[in-house]
Point group: C2
Chain length 570, copies 2
């Protein structure tokens, strides 16, 4: 369990206690994820004993969480109160906002999921794979929805996925507004703007607490419109004389739309590559969000039988995923597509922090095969989906919240967001800097941090949820860096004799199979001496082996493999 | 061993063979490192049976090389020809150019090391730590040095470390010029410019083969002068009201100079933190490269007893190294320095690819504690040391080489450099795109790729050099991602009985100690059946255990831990 730390802006409270009971008429907010990290966004609102959840996403593991597939928010705070949950409101369909829904529904399957049409379509597709049948409540911008004491009002926002919503939650304790993820593209491809008018109206009515996206708070200025990418793609298409592959996020409908448009203009057919790309674009097309000119699409099989200059492949793998189609192509291991010198590959995507090495590996692999790789550092083929500083200031000035709680960000983002709020004139004690588990109560119009609840990382590994914990991860880190040496000896305690000499098993330590020969003799000599001295306790003998080997390996190799001594008694 | 791939620009040759013997009068170039990677730069030149080495650096491992400390160039090609080496020319003092020198000198201690004063001072300090006494040959820009048949001429270049040199190697086969690392800062802090006049003169005389730094070939334009950072630091110093910490590379004398100047202006004393920072700045000061105003420096002990606003700490740790002083401060674990809300920390450094997660962890840790963190993404506190596209074009136009071999770069950089060369009018077959191990021969004025030699990664882990190989690393990757389960059983083959039931040892698989209870029974039942069927072969029984456990863990957990069955016979 993580000990939480937070505070009003500038004053971190490092030792928050369990909060006092929520006073009657108060609104409580607990972020279970997304604060102090980018991912697993999940906020729990409580009023009068009832709960409303906003988003329920996953976090992708870092190098220090080796072998883990996903990290979930810690449901510990709500798992004994599942019946109190009125609904889960989903702001949009990205994995860091919907990815943990299957795991929450395993605890209680009939929690209503409230979201926009496209968001719910993506959730439903995901839940089908988990064989779960959800209760879906479709809403649109401008709609109201009553979930117990929580009167939700939905507001259109612009993001890197269609059909994103902010939500205003009206309660007797006051009004909370959660932006979800947003930016203020003033020329959006689908014409759907972030509804500043709605934020202004709510601001005039009075927003008590604003939870707002902090991702780009460190970035100055305003977003470049998504549609500015079109001409760049046009230029790439014009120059490309051979095979052309564009990789992007499988949910970025507007980015893919621009690729389809460029393909149509330049007489190339389009094949979608990657399960999630095919699935999501199918959903987007069915819902009228993706406009596909007749006859444009071909299957990958058809595409590979066509001349390379007549087709464009639209692929997943933009984050360097080694098992993706693009990853295989970069290593020359894709069974249908072989990269040739002169091919063009476009990574029309962000470079998610932590993925740099993997992405550059793919770019280098493609470059080695002779391809020209166009990526965000060499051409403007990507714009972010999150509001930078200029837009965050604008939102604050329009919405005029009484209190701001920066969400959706690492500490550097949250603190930068707090600094922007101070710039726009908010008093320092009106900005609540919290991290996962921190409890914010809105009581009598005053919001403050009142404590924290324990939250940890819940790891998904294969079919296991929660079995792999910090202890296993620490073992993995040691094993992964140092390897292990296991020494097993069979003794007969009654006679004090070694029945079977030391058996050695080592992995990850050395390519030299004789690396431990020297210490084996040492271990056996020590064992014989101890046994002849009457020491036959298996645990003590194990400890002695560990000491002998540990000292030897440290002295002779300056290394610290995991040492696993086993003394078996027969 | 890596199978090499390379080619004239645009045509990768994927199956290069061992090159034919070097024709008499020819010059051979083999890059042992630095091509297809950023790091362990090392080129071997051969003429008339004699060898000249240019640079001998280390590569820092990536996540897929877990637990490794350093990666060396593979000396296999030269280790039987050590007596043929006339000298090692060192272009400058960065680790990726000098770091492997101790390991080369262990093979032959008296190889002359030729370099500038500062470069040799850093090498000498490093070799003292390895208890090696080198043969040093100091040269300066404009000097000539004859190393066997290699007539070396040194040229001043500007880089992110003082006293960097390019080298022109005149041989009867022709003239090879190696830029080392360089950029063309036109307002360098120390007035030392990249000597375009010398490159122009050599160009007029005729450069047969140019080896040039490709690091920033993808970046358009020209470098911003190093001295532009001064005013940014001034601004940070002016705003800082509490503790101020500036972190940078321990060899970046000009960056540190500007910090000292800002401290002097603002009446703050300076304490250096970190062993390499103290050592290198001592060397730089002794050589007159770092100008320290009298009375400016204090020890860390003195600094921590002074009011925070009267001091600036200059620290290592800018790459997020967890054990560095800054790393400890970010976690609140430094025994002398406690970060307070309102402190200012400047990371006046690049973000080396691969280090992003570690660096952001430090920034987030500091932000969590309430500090303001200024870094290259929020202010211009760093400029690169490598020539971007505009300067690379300039060099090509000035030096007019007959052939170009892009060096010092990953494939994306090498290929971008090749594209720049084509833009300036070089024919495609005049650009030699090689990677580590590829052999380039200059014969009768014509340079071409003639084959490749096997090169691999030589890993340093603790005191071991080369013991940890790809097999150990593959084991580490599996152990680190999946953990292991070891099952040991003692049997008596003569009677076909189990003497000691299965002992289970598992690490990194699950925090639940009973995770394998179910399969243990299965394993024992199978064993008993096989023994009673007369199967007593330890190897076959082990294989059977592996199959049973592997299938069970895959079916029930969808995971693949390393399975280590051991059947001991008594």
């Amino acid at each position: 369990m993580t000990v939480s730390s937070a505070g009003q802006a500038g004053q971190p409270h490092l030792d928050l206690k369990t909060p006092p009971p929520l006073p009657a008429g108060g609104l409580r907010v607990i972020a279970l994820g997304g604060l102090g990290e980018i991912g697993r966004n999940m906020a729990v609102l409580e009023f009068d004993g009832r709960l409303l959840v906003i988003d329920c996403g996953v976090l992708f593991p870092e190098a220090e969480q080796p072998g883990v597939d996903l990290i979930l928010p810690d449901f510990g705070v709500i798992e004994h109160r599942l019946a109190d949950i009125e609904a889960v409101v989903l702001t949009h369909g990205h994995e860091d906002h919907i990815g943990a829904i299957p795991y929450l529904l395993r605890l209680r399957g009939d929690i209503p999921l409230v979201g926009s049409r496209f968001t719910l379509a993506l959730v439903a597709a995901k839940l089908r794979e988990h064989r779960l049948v959800p209760t879906l409540v479709e809403v649109a911008a401008g709609d109201d929805h009553l979930a117990g004491p929580f009167h939700c009002e939905f507001i259109s926002v612009n993001h890197s996925i269609p059909d994103a919503l902010a939500v205003a939650v009206h309660t007797p304790a006051g009004v909370l507004v959660h932006t979800g993820d947003f930016k203020m593209d003033q020329l959006p491809l689908d014409g759907v703007l972030t509804d500043l008018g709605a934020f202004a109206r709510l601001g005039i009515e009075g927003i008590d607490l604003l939870l707002a996206d902090s991702t780009n708070a460190e970035i100055p200025g305003f977003v470049t419109p998504e549609r500015s990418i079109g001409p760049v793609l046009e230029d790439v298409f014009r120059r490309a004389t051979q095979r052309l592959i564009v990789s992007s996020f499988a949910s970025h409908v507007h980015r893919i739309q621009q690729v389809l448009d460029a393909a149509d203009t330049h007489g190339r057919k389009v094949a979608l590559v990657g399960r999630s790309m095919v699935r999501n674009m199918g959903v987007a097309r069915d819902l009228g969000l993706l406009h596909v000119p007749p006859g444009l699409m071909v299957s990958l099989d058809e595409a590979t039988s066509m001349p390379p200059e007549q087709v464009v492949l639209v692929s997943t793998g933009s984050q360097g995923e080694p098992l993706s189609a693009l990853g295989r192509m970069a290593r020359g291991e894709h069974h249908q597509v072989t990269i040739e010198a002169g091919d063009t590959i476009v990574l029309a995507s962000s470079l998610v922090p932590g993925n740099e090495t993997a992405v550059y590996k793919v770019i280098n692999g493609l470059a080695r095969l002779g391809a020209t790789v166009v990526h965000k550092e060499t051409a403007r083929v990507h714009v972010s989906g999150h509001a930078p500083a200029g837009e965050l200031r604008t939102l604050l000035n329009v919405a005029k919240p009484r209190y701001l709680m920066p969400v959706h960000g690492e500490w550097r983002h949250l603190r930068a967001h707090a600094a922007l709020a101070e710039e726009t004139g908010m008093a320092r004690d009106r900005v609540l800097l919290a991290e996962d588990g921190v409890v914010v109560d809105l009581v009598d119009g005053k919001a403050s941090i009142t404590g924290s609840v324990p939250v940890g990382n819940v790891y998904v590994d294969g079919l296991n949820v929660g079995d792999v914990g910090e202890e296993s991860l620490q073992e993995r880190r040691i094993l992964g860096d140092e390897g292990f040496v296991a020494l097993t000896v069979v003794i007969e305690p009654s006679t004090g004799t070694i029945v079977r000499p030391v058996h050695l098993s080592t992995r990850g330590f050395s390519d030299d199979p004789t690396a431990f020969d020297e210490v084996l003799r040492l271990v056996e000599d020590n064992l014989k001496r101890e046994l002849s001295d009457g020491q036959t306790d298996a645990h003590r003998l194990s400890q002695s082996i560990r000491r002998t080997v540990g000292k030897w390996v440290s002295d002779t190799h300056r290394r610290r493999p995991m040492i696993i001594p086993t003394v078996l008694e027969v």
